[in-house]
Symmetry: C2
Subunit: 468 residues, 2 copies
């Protein structure tokens, strides 16, 4: 990240924390420059950036001051309150029907699970693919079997290490995307009939996975900003004796919620106390808008009870289908399951990612992507404020690319989805995200397509549909 | 295939069938040329080819005569006789341990499941990969989801149609290799606790799949030449009411057995009469040495009860991980399972195969590969005859690249495997291929690496080990 952006982020963080208070004066440009060892131009550009974001304001002849934040027009959605029941999962067909509707390119992808592929360095990846297959030793096509290409595992481990997260190459099993990693981890720790604890709302693929393995779901109250409620989780663990907990610590899909870092340790300890494995889906962990990567629960997993899963699909190479698991105690079991279920991930995809990661441009790409997504979030929230009916609630996530909306009254978002599809707009209705019939008045909106000129007008269209 | 090869194959077939008898005179070159509308040169080359294979012999001034086949020195293995019991499967770890030993390139790959990658057109595939990713529309990386790239499905269907097998693009779900296809098909038709009928011996991945899904196995007697015994199958179906039958109709792994074509219809009808789905693993179907592709059971599946699975991994592109299922009635269910378990197959791999198949060289490659493999089979059998102890039995398959051996006395092939590994030679012990402890005196040998100069000497080494 360029110096001025880093300095601006640091100040934004201090403002968000309240360390710098409203109406407090920032150091003068000259003073900040001297104290921080930055050029005056760097400080000035940082201040301009904060000014553009509405965080500070220049007062003539007085300097820069922290500005009162623009009133948050739309409140955040409420804490969910699922009943404390174990539910057999039978939503696969409904989920599939809802998802298959949104694949056509003519549809405005507000319901998509991916960011715009135009934000990804596909050209560089193709170059990497070309270079790596040209050098390919034929034998590699039959020996790069599970647990995956050693160099790829080393480079992934290196990224974790760079963020202060202790994951080694030998801890990793390469899979066909995070989805396969999650499915294999779930299979490794459960037997048919077991109960698994999920967030409420939860990522629909978790529901599909439970259904396929004949597992029961217990959904636990989850805050739209701070994630799963630890007290409720503790109660649920005691009551249901689950075989596993499956959740997302950072930028949860669909809420965008992140468990505060100090609470992640508590989460891991709570589950370790009960000996319950935690399946951690961290596919959005790299898409943070703050200064540093939030440490996953895996980072404080002393017991090997966290099965951490992630991928390149959301931030680099969706179609390449390369993900991984760091399954702790179950590494050998997951490796075995991978070998028996689909042998290995595609070798060309693995080699292309080795070449791309070794090239050293991944961090820069991610910085750009995060910048783009955080601006896209603000633009999308603004459009929703403008067009959606009063009483609408919306999240404001610090990473990822999803908003979660609660609509007022008794709007059924599956009906809204149908009406929107008739206008070539997709969205993800709330019903997708629960084993029961919760969240009927909710929806998830993808703001990861800021390059698509149809996106903001589509919000206006949705607003008009909601106005009736 | 060139004309002379096709004509030679036709004659070889007539000789094998006994339509042309030993010492029978073939038509003169001139006569055959006139009657078949072939040039004399073509007929002569065909005769020379048959002569080289020892099938005919030229007698001076008399013409060409069918030759008595060289005495078969080693008899074929016996029909298996598994007990008629449903067995819980618990061999995953043993199988995994046996398989992980054989991955290093320094090991002579007699235990490998793949043919030599040097026999595959990897250079052409890399060209296809380069061309196709260069043209790639970024959106394709997020919309080529299950059931897979439409053009790839069309080209696969076209190949089936070319062989007179009625499979359409819409019948196909693209998967991460045939292994995933088989696993998803099994999942679609079973519930935990169900029983599944397998061949005896069976492909070990079937055992792994059953174990993972908590299914019980019933193994049915299987002839080393003609495959599963239909009477025994009928009895087993009546007795065990299985949720499915899983088998290979062509060049079964490990036996190399092929169900005779006239009996495939009977097989399909038998199972249809009981309403039992058939999971047909046809990954070796394209590696036939005869004149035409054996028609899979799927070709006579009027009821949609056959879930047919295949891939490019054994004959074209092992590391690309592209396979498919034609799951009949369960097409929508398998498509749904694929989407929920690993989303889609790698897009670069799919596009590369589209480009390669459209290029039109696949059939020629396959003809060369079949030629190479059938010569490799003969050379391998000869080496075994020379070096293995008397009493050894061996198959002589008409396709694929595996031999199945029964060793005399009470040799335990797991001990042999250990001794061989110490000499950097892998093999697949018979115990891999049964849910119980059958086939301890058997082994599978891969003859698909004729380009590897270590292979035939390794057979001599095994013979010396066996001689003690």
């Amino acid at each position: 990240m360029t110096l001025y952006k880093r300095y601006a982020d640091e100040l934004a963080h201090l403002i968000a924390q309240g360390t710098l208070r409203v109406d407090e004066r920032l150091p003068s440009v000259r003073e900040a420059s001297r104290r921080r060892g930055l050029s005056e131009m760097t400080v000035l550009r940082a201040y301009h950036r904060l000014e553009a974001r509405g965080l500070i304001v220049a007062r003539p002849r007085s300097g820069y001051f922290v500005q009162a934040q623009r009133q948050r027009l739309l409140p955040k959605p409420q804490l969910s309150a699922p009943p404390p029941l174990a539910t057999a999962v039978d939503k696969g067909e409904q989920i599939h029907a809802l998802l298959s509707a949104i694949r056509q390119p003519r549809i405005v992808p507000l319901g998509s699970a991916f960011p715009s592929p135009r934000l990804l360095p596909l050209k560089a990846l193709h170059g990497a693919l070309n270079r790596s297959v040209r050098r390919l030793d034929p034998l590699r096509t039959v020996i790069d079997l599970s647990p995956g290409n050693p160099e790829l595992r080393r480079l992934i481990a290196l990224r974790y290490r760079g963020d202060g997260i202790a994951i080694d190459a030998d801890d990793l099993v390469i899979t066909d995307g995070a989805l396969e990693a999650l499915n294999l981890c779930l299979q490794a720790v459960t037997r048919p009939g077991d109960t698994v604890i999920l967030e409420s709302p939860t990522f629909y693929a978790a529901l599909q996975a439970l259904e396929r393995l004949h597992l029961k779901a217990v959904e636990v109250p989850t805050d739209p900003e701070t994630g799963i409620d630890l007290d409720a989780l503790d109660t649920a663990v005691r009551r249901h004796r689950p075989a596993a907990v499956w959740l997302m610590t950072s930028f949860q899909n669909p809420l965008g919620a992140s468990v505060p870092e100090w609470r992640r340790q508590a989460l891991v300890q709570l589950l370790a106390g009960h000996g319950v494995p935690l399946i951690e889906d961290d596919v959005y962990g790299e898409l943070y808008y703050g200064a540093t990567r939030p440490k996953p629960a895996k980072a404080c997993d002393a017991e090997g009870l966290v099965l951490h899963c992630a991928s390149f699909s959301k931030c680099l190479a969706p179609g390449y289908r390369i993900g991984w698991a760091a399954p702790g105690r179950w590494t050998a079991a997951v490796e075995r399951l991978k070998l028996g279920s689909s042998l290995s991930a595609a070798v060309p995809s693995q080699l292309a990612l080795v070449d791309y990661l070794a090239g050293g441009n991944y961090s820069r790409h991610l910085r750009q992507l995060r910048d783009t997504l955080s601006s896209a979030r603000d633009a999308m929230i603004e459009a929703i404020q403008l067009h959606f009916p009063p009483g609408t609630r919306v999240t404001r996530p610090d990473g990822g690319y999803f908003l979660w909306l609660e609509l007022p009254g008794d709007i059924d978002t599956r009906a809204l989805q149908q009406a929107a599809l008739a206008r070539d707009i997709s969205l993800a209705p709330g019903a997708l995200f629960s084993a029961r019939e919760d969240f009927r008045h909710c929806l998830r909106i993808n703001y990861g397509h800021p390059d698509d000129p149809r996106v903001l007008p589509a919000i206006a269209t949705l607003g008009a549909l909601l106005a009736g």
